[in-house]
Symmetry: D2
Subunit: 137 residues, 4 copies
């Protein structure tokens, strides 16, 4: 992939911030950003295949790197955008951006994640499911 | 700092995993690791100065990078070790390791974080408090 | 109020269930129902007055009683309905129902809550704000 | 059971409050009390039988009623005491008290819960496991 290639947008998932997402700082707690990214990821998996997770194949998160750009305060409507990155045999990277739904130029956080497909029965990595590989493009 | 220098251990915080930390995978949810690291960080801040957070000075997390090495299952007793990294004018990096309290060779996760000290009244970065700089030393 | 009077509907708040709301049972964790009810309550407070919480007046939850009728599984869209109950000098009760947004006859949970208005500076109860009393009807 | 009978203490579970348990009020969020009670309940189940939950028998929470007596602020060490109540064929009630570990006269919350044993394969209630019935005494 040349550097000029625009990453493929995999999903743009709307999420509503809950009052309880905030911590004693009156901002959304840092740990909840991982929940927002998780929600986008799982909505995307499920949109590809209703049986995205099974007894013999499931994704696990191997790494999550988040840069917090701007605090989020309730009430807020956000969007989690997820983009395809490098694709390997059993894993792929996906970057993400968390922006305001009503003002997409407001960037709350950005980062990337590494997902690995495993066989839950033995914890070993397996080849990415074909429907996933196709969707990653 | 030469590469052979051992990073300074800032805190070794015991945390008890709760059943509710697990998700539908029967493992501790990825977002909860950020909570474990937060708990270690805040226990450390508080040990340095009971008034670690005030109207004119407070830390914010600018980045959190986590590599998930091994799933955690309830019940478990873990320890979050936090180590000093680079120290700047208003920020510092700290790496962390999450290990099993009863089997410290079992590494559940490792990563690093970037902390910035700000004035909560205007959101601007400020110099690291002297007691913190001394402790990072 | 005679027993035949229909309770006044205060708010009907849509909430989207997150994958992370589920626990190791593959159902929404019981503690999250309190978060759903909280979200409805705070959306309602805020709709009455943007400055619903201040330095001299804030609501606290004195009691929460929940009957869990049917497990909730992700993905799901729910609605939290909140109804006025008894109104006192500084407190009121509100009952709630959590139903499926797309099938309102599906009742996931029901219960009631007791809210008390206090002065956060001293923790003492205060009279219900007039705008709230008016809204409770 | 005569009213003078002291309820049987089932478990006295220590829990450490996390900074992240607090919400924008700077107090432990109401929903987290359910997590504290859950932790006590599951520690107790597990102490009775390591295989307390299986494919053919599992407890579900049918009701949870909580009276919030005093806000909890981090840092705090609490104890969740759980007491036996009425015992039925497939369900039992258990009351609870959340107190300060270092000052047991400080009562943070109290309430009761209803637990039902079911067959997870069909959701039907089943007889309470003998080891549980014996422990409820």
């Amino acid at each position: 992939m040349s550097e000029s290639t625009t990453p493929k947008l995999l999903v743009s998932a709307p999420v509503t911030v809950r009052w309880g997402d905030m911590d004693a700082y009156n901002h959304v707690n840092n740990s909840v950003y991982a929940t927002y990214v998780e929600e986008a990821r799982l909505q995307w998996f499920r949109s590809l295949d209703p049986h995205w997770m099974g007894e013999d194949a499931a994704p696990i998160l191997a790494a999550l790197n988040t840069n917090f750009r701007k605090p989020i305060e309730w009430p807020a409507e956000i969007v989690v955008e997820m983009y395809a990155g490098r694709i390997g045999r059993s894993s792929f990277t996906a970057s993400f951006r968390i922006v305001d739904r009503n003002a997409p130029e407001v960037l709350y956080a950005e980062g990337d994640s590494v997902l690995v497909w495993i066989d839950p029965r033995n914890g070993k990595s397996i080849e990415l499911p074909p429907h996933l590989r196709a969707a990653l493009g």
